[in-house]
């Protein structure tokens, strides 16, 4: 079945709080879902629930028509989740981080790594320990990681945090290229992200 992510009537409780109240949506190949809402509306929780890090009390997430819990490793091998803190080790260089972090998902050639770093304009500082980098530079390294995984479904939590104007533009370009190649993206955003309206659905969390 073609790539499609569907969420049905998701209900999630965090302690006493009813965070997600019957959230549902469908995103298919070439489409992007932008999740918006005030702080604490559950954007991160929704993304983490879709990724499978949180178990919803009610409702299910379907990937290619099948519940994601059935063949979790297949779903995860096609998905990449990037949270608002980039999962990078401060003592390793950016390139090393990707070599190990993405290396456990797929094998890639050094050229692919260089190409991904070049696309996110991270080549210049990829060989410096991550702890010496600025937050925006780390984000660019992490975004190169997203490209390198070649995942079909991108789950991005606040992808534009810490990025300068050219970085915001970069996110837009990357997502659009990803959609054009038949990928799917779900992004929780604060700042408006001007994507092609035909490929974009918006979900406002109350």
């Amino acid at each position: 079945m073609t790539a499609e992510l569907r969420a049905d009537n998701l209900h999630l409780w965090r302690g006493e709080q009813h965070v997600l109240r019957g959230v549902g949506f469908v995103v298919s190949a070439g489409q992007c879902l932008l999740v918006t809402g005030r702080n604490g509306a559950g954007k991160t929780s929704l993304i983490r629930t879709v990724a499978g890090l949180l178990q919803p009390e009610e409702g299910r997430v379907f990937w290619r028509g099948e519940p994601t819990g059935v063949d979790r490793s297949r779903f995860h091998s096609e998905t990449y989740y990037l949270g608002h803190d980039a999962p990078l080790k401060g003592d390793l260089t950016g390139a090393e981080n990707l070599r190990f972090g993405v290396g456990i998902r797929r094998r890639f050639l050094p050229d692919e790594l260089r190409a991904a770093l070049a696309r996110t304009a991270a080549s210049d500082f990829a060989d410096r320990p991550v702890r010496t980098l600025s937050a925006g530079q780390r984000r660019r390294i992490a975004l190169a990681g997203v490209l390198l995984t070649t995942a079909t479904l991108w789950l991005l939590d606040e992808p534009t945090t810490n990025l300068d104007a050219s970085g915001q533009e970069l996110i837009k370009t990357l997502i659009e290229a990803h959609l054009a190649a038949g990928g799917i993206a779900i992004a929780a955003i604060h700042h408006p992200l001007e994507l092609d309206a035909r490929a974009t659905t918006r979900l406002e969390l109350a």
Binding site: L53, S77, G83, P87, K89, D91, G103, R106, A181
Partner: protein
Amino acid sequence: MTGGQSVSPWHVARLTVERDLRLAFRRPAQLVQPILFFLIVTTLFPLALSPELSRLRDVAPGVLWVAALLSSLLALEFLFRDDAQDGTLEQFALSGQSLTWLLFAKTFSHWLLTGLPLAVVAPISAGALGVDFGSMPGVVASLAIGSFALSLIGAIGAGLTLGVQRGGVLLSLLTLPLAVPILIFGARATELAIKSEPYGAPLYLLAAFAVLGLTLAPLAAAAAVRIGLE
């Protein structure tokens, strides 16, 4: 579009171990801490107790093993902590690879960095406690196998205490009851080795614990980590 070559479990484990070793050697202080602790404790005993070698030899197994146990408990706190903080564990859980296998690889490298060095430096401490050179193979073997079992069992506790702030004490309390059999059989094997008697039986039991830990602990740790990530 997902693709590229798939990754074999061995490759995944190799990458994980390589990454952990590289990280450890970039931050040697954390690496040296448990070894130094072990050496200090074991070499203080001959100074505090009577310097009679036969007496020291009697207490040597207990001293070596209690120090090894405490040192590995100290080190356990660092097993998953950094990876939990920087999101690496999340990426493990979402990598499409077996979390059990990844955590086993992590536990193995943890043992390479904190358990195995204890066995390697043990002859120094044992020598200070009056143990003959001929008994060293038994001392080293029992500590090597025992510390491996301790690392595996400790991985469960380390997984369970992920969400706890300053979970060090809780981690020790959780792990100690499970570690006691290893302490008993390990100290017994060391004692027999020092007396130049056959120490095979307790050593095999120790190995049995390590195998039991090998089969069950990574599974339990993976389940614990999944809960901890929620």
